[in-house]
């Protein structure tokens, strides 16, 4: 320690500074406000899972699933096996939900696999696809797949 520093230190020894809590709290609050603002920026997201169709090689017998096709036209109208269900602006799709729940129950009772294929019109808004996936999640239907074009 230098002579100058030691002299200053001895001069300050008389006054007891103690632990300076004020600047410490100041810094902690700045950090707190920073993280609060960042946390508000982070939005909670959820997810809807699906599997794309693929090919599988098997030598055992294969049970053909009970397949249903859900179509979505350009206006957002949802069709189950070509029959329209609910309105194009109805995001809850109650009739489709009830029907799919019944189909799921039937599939469970018959011990078959219920497979749903979603086929959207290219111009249909994406949120209608999510509405349908939301209904499928409500009906506890896991086997969902899409028709996908070859080119991209």
């Amino acid at each position: 320690m230098s002579r100058h520093h030691r002299r200053r230190h001895s001069a300050e020894a008389g006054s007891d500074l103690g632990f300076q809590i004020a600047p410490m709290i100041d810094v902690v609050f700045v950090v707190l406000v920073f993280f609060m603002s960042l946390t508000a920026a982070i939005k909670v997201e959820a997810e809807l899972n699906t599997k794309l169709p693929g090919s599988a090689t098997t030598s055992a017998a294969v049970d053909f699933p009970d397949e249903q096709t859900i179509g979505i036209d350009a206006a957002g109208q949802v069709l189950l096996n070509d029959a329209p269900f609910d309105g194009p602006d109805d995001s809850e799709l109650p009739s489709l939900t009830d029907t799919l729940k019944r189909l799921k129950e039937n599939a469970v009772n018959a011990r078959t696999t219920l497979l749903v294929t979603i086929s959207s019109d290219p111009k249909a808004p994406y949120f209608r696809t999510i509405d349908v996936l939301n209904v499928l999640a409500a009906a506890a239907i896991d086997n969902v797949t899409f028709t996908v074009d070859d080119g991209f």
Binding site: K43, D121, P122, P125, I130, F152
Partner: protein, 142 residues
């Protein structure tokens, strides 16, 4: 905590400067880590709402394709790893490499709610070409 005693019998003081130093280092650490987490998602996208969607599983190995939609210009763009693409051809080899590295790799599609379904279909086709069958759609729970 070690004090700043010089061994000459004086009372050790609490050193506030190194404490602030440590706090600032922590601040920078959290800034960088949280900024990285926030940067993975595209805030310009308004996700569609799905009340029955499950909680996001962040523990899985995943890639994210953001599908932006400009309603005024009726134009879609794909954002993958901070780069914007008009077509998905260049992304496929990257996705195929990620899929071969970890077999349980999945693709998260974050599409704007108004984007036409054909753009989402293109993203799924790219995933299929890369050998990824596990697709997840991001949605807002409310």
């Amino acid at each position: 905590m070690a004090g700043g005693g010089s061994g000459d019998g004086e009372e050790p003081e609490f050193q506030i400067a190194p404490m602030i130093d440590v706090l600032l280092v922590l601040l920078i650490f959290f800034m960088s880590s949280i900024t990285k987490q926030v940067a993975r998602v595209d805030k310009s996208i308004t996700l569609p709402v799905a009340h029955n969607a499950s909680k996001r599983d962040n523990a899985r190995d995943e890639s994210i394709i953001n599908v932006r939609w400009d309603q005024a210009k009726k134009h879609a763009a794909f954002v993958f790893e901070d780069k914007t693409y008009e077509r998905l051809d260049p992304i496929v080899p990257v996705l195929a490499q990620l899929q071969s590295a970890t077999k349980k790799h999945r693709l998260v599609i974050r599409g704007d709610r108004l984007v036409p379904a054909e753009q989402i279909s293109l993203a799924m086709a790219a995933a299929a070409s890369a050998g990824i069958a596990d697709i997840t759609f991001a949605a807002s729970p409310r």
